[in-house]
């Protein structure tokens, strides 16, 4: 059964996500430890690092929802303003079995979309005017289903928690390296002895490597969630070809949306800052679009195979027939 394999995929991805968060937390603690070691007490360093991250996570979890919307200049719309968009979002929220999110439009000709909100109960979906103008209804539905999947899988919360932890690592390393540069080299190394010098070198090396390692982890998580949201979109619409066709348009006839801001670029359905590339990169927040389209087309084969689905094969057939 298709639904079965989807549930399996979601579960598997949840596990890897938890693993990633744990790894980042370990790196953070390790960084705190090595800094603390240098300062005299490793426990103090670990405590400071974790406290630092916890405070940021708490602040963002309580009021982080609207920052991305503000940054993009998104305006909330009602059913009367944008009936088609609103209807498509409502259709997808019904398919996902989650409450209706708030709907926003970004006035730009660039094609993109993102979702935000810490839980399905207070989520929002934003799409650009360019996207609404150039996608047909099936394609728009695919894009919205992708965003809806980010919401129902709690991807936004996860990516913010990870981003904050990575940010904490970067800031701590930076602060430590500056401090070591200004004060560390000063005179006293002879008094402290060789052991102290080694500790210092280790701490500095760790402070240089930790941010890079943490960012690689963050990008890996982000790419993984994109694939999962694509799969989730196929589950909701039962028509993966819609999203595949939308991605093709987004890849080949799009212009960058610089206002999105680097901090939020990972939230968008395709990277708003860079044009699409074919190569998979460890430093990319999104997987290559070609690869995403290929996977969706494989799913399309599953859904169009006769007799694959038991009951209530859903609206795929009618979706396919109707052209928006």
């Amino acid at each position: 059964m298709n639904t079965r394999s989807f549930h399996d995929e979601i579960r598997r991805n949840k596990r890897t996500s938890i693993l990633f968060v744990a790894l980042v937390a370990v790196v953070l603690a390790g960084l705190g430890w090595s800094i603390g070691l240098y300062l005299g007490d490793p426990r103090v360093g670990v405590g400071i690092a974790l406290l630092f991250a916890a405070i940021q996570v708490l602040v963002l979890l309580t009021m982080g929802d609207s920052i991305a919307l503000l940054a993009a200049g998104a305006k909330e719309v009602s059913h009367a303003d944008e009936p088609v968009l609103y209807n498509v979002v409502e259709e997808m929220s019904i398919a996902a079995g989650i409450p209706m999110p708030r709907v926003f439009v970004i006035e730009t000709d660039s094609m993109n979309a993102f979702a935000t909100g810490m839980s399905p109960q207070r989520a929002a979906v934003a799409v650009t005017r360019g996207l609404m103008r150039r996608l047909n209804r099936d394609e728009l539905q695919g894009v919205i289903a992708h965003e809806m999947s980010h919401i129902r899988f709690y991807d936004i919360r996860l990516s913010i928690v990870v981003a904050v932890m990575v940010g904490a690592i970067v800031m701590l390393s930076d602060m430590f390296l500056r401090w070591a540069f200004w004060f560390g080299g000063r005179g006293s190394s002879r008094d402290r002895g060789q052991g102290q010098a080694i500790i210092m070198v280790v701490a500095i090396v760790f402070a240089i490597l930790a941010p890079i390692f943490a960012m690689l982890l963050q990008f890996a998580v982000s790419r993984k969630r994109e694939y999962l949201a694509d799969a989730g979109a196929a589950e909701l619409t039962r028509y993966p070809a819609g999203l595949a066709s939308a991605l093709r348009k987004l890849a080949y006839s799009n212009r960058p949306f610089k206002e999105a801001g680097k901090a939020f670029s990972h939230l968008y359905i395709v990277n708003p800052l860079k044009p699409a590339t074919k190569l998979s990169s460890a430093f990319a927040t999104h997987p290559p679009i070609e690869e995403r389209i290929k996977r969706l087309e494989q799913m399309a084969l599953i859904y169009s195979a006769p007799g694959e689905e038991g009951n209530g094969s859903g609206p795929a057939a009618s979706q396919g027939r109707r052209k928006g």
Partner: protein, 188 residues
């Protein structure tokens, strides 16, 4: 420390009771999911019933020669509104979907009608409601499948038997035309 058989029996009994409660609660949760999903479908079906008279009224002036199709839609609507069980409702709603489809197809032939923004808005609302119904049905059927599978599987079926959990009906989407056996002319 000594283990008397009594302790072992007690431990097994406690584990069994915990398992029973756990499974029972899972079944209750799944059953409630089915109920909620049905409520969603119900909301959308009612919305469709509310929209139809408006559309028919708006189309009437333009489609004098399509009285039959319009009547069919109205008839299917009133039948769907009076349906009682899930099975009846599913059947009647499928009829209504079919009737609406032929009405939508007819609208294509009337350029005046398509130029009328009021009609186009009603059409968007109705076809979106159609989509919402099928997505709600998709969600409902997935919930029913999870629930039905659970109560049939060993060992949960034991708990289901004691707790009187019975299988729920799927909301089938067979269209009337698909049900009919294709007519083959053999009189050659």
């Amino acid at each position: 420390m000594e283990f008397s058989p009594l302790w072992i029996v007690a431990a097994v009994a406690v584990i069994f009771v915990l398992w029973f409660f756990g499974t029972y609660n899972v079944l209750v949760r799944l059953k409630n999911q089915v109920k909620n999903a049905w409520a969603q479908i119900d909301v959308q079906l009612k919305r469709r019933h509310d929209l139809i008279p408006n559309l028919v009224e708006a189309c009437k002036g333009y489609m004098k020669f399509e009285q039959e199709t319009l009547n069919k839609v109205i008839e299917a609507r009133s039948k769907a509104m009076s349906a009682q069980s899930v099975k009846d409702a599913a059947q009647a709603e499928n009829m209504l979907t079919g009737a609406l489809k032929s009405l939508f197809a007819l609208v294509e032939n009337y350029p005046d009608l398509k130029a009328n923004t009021n009609v186009m808005q009603l059409m968007e609302e109705l076809s979106s409601t159609e989509n919402k119904i099928s997505f709600a049905r998709q969600f409902y059927n997935d919930a029913v499948m999870r629930y039905n599978t659970k109560i049939q599987q060993i060992p949960a079926n034991v708990v289901a038997g004691i707790g009187k959990f019975t299988a729920e009906d799927f909301f089938e989407i067979e269209e009337p035309s698909e049900r009919e056996v294709p007519k083959v002319d053999l009189s050659f």
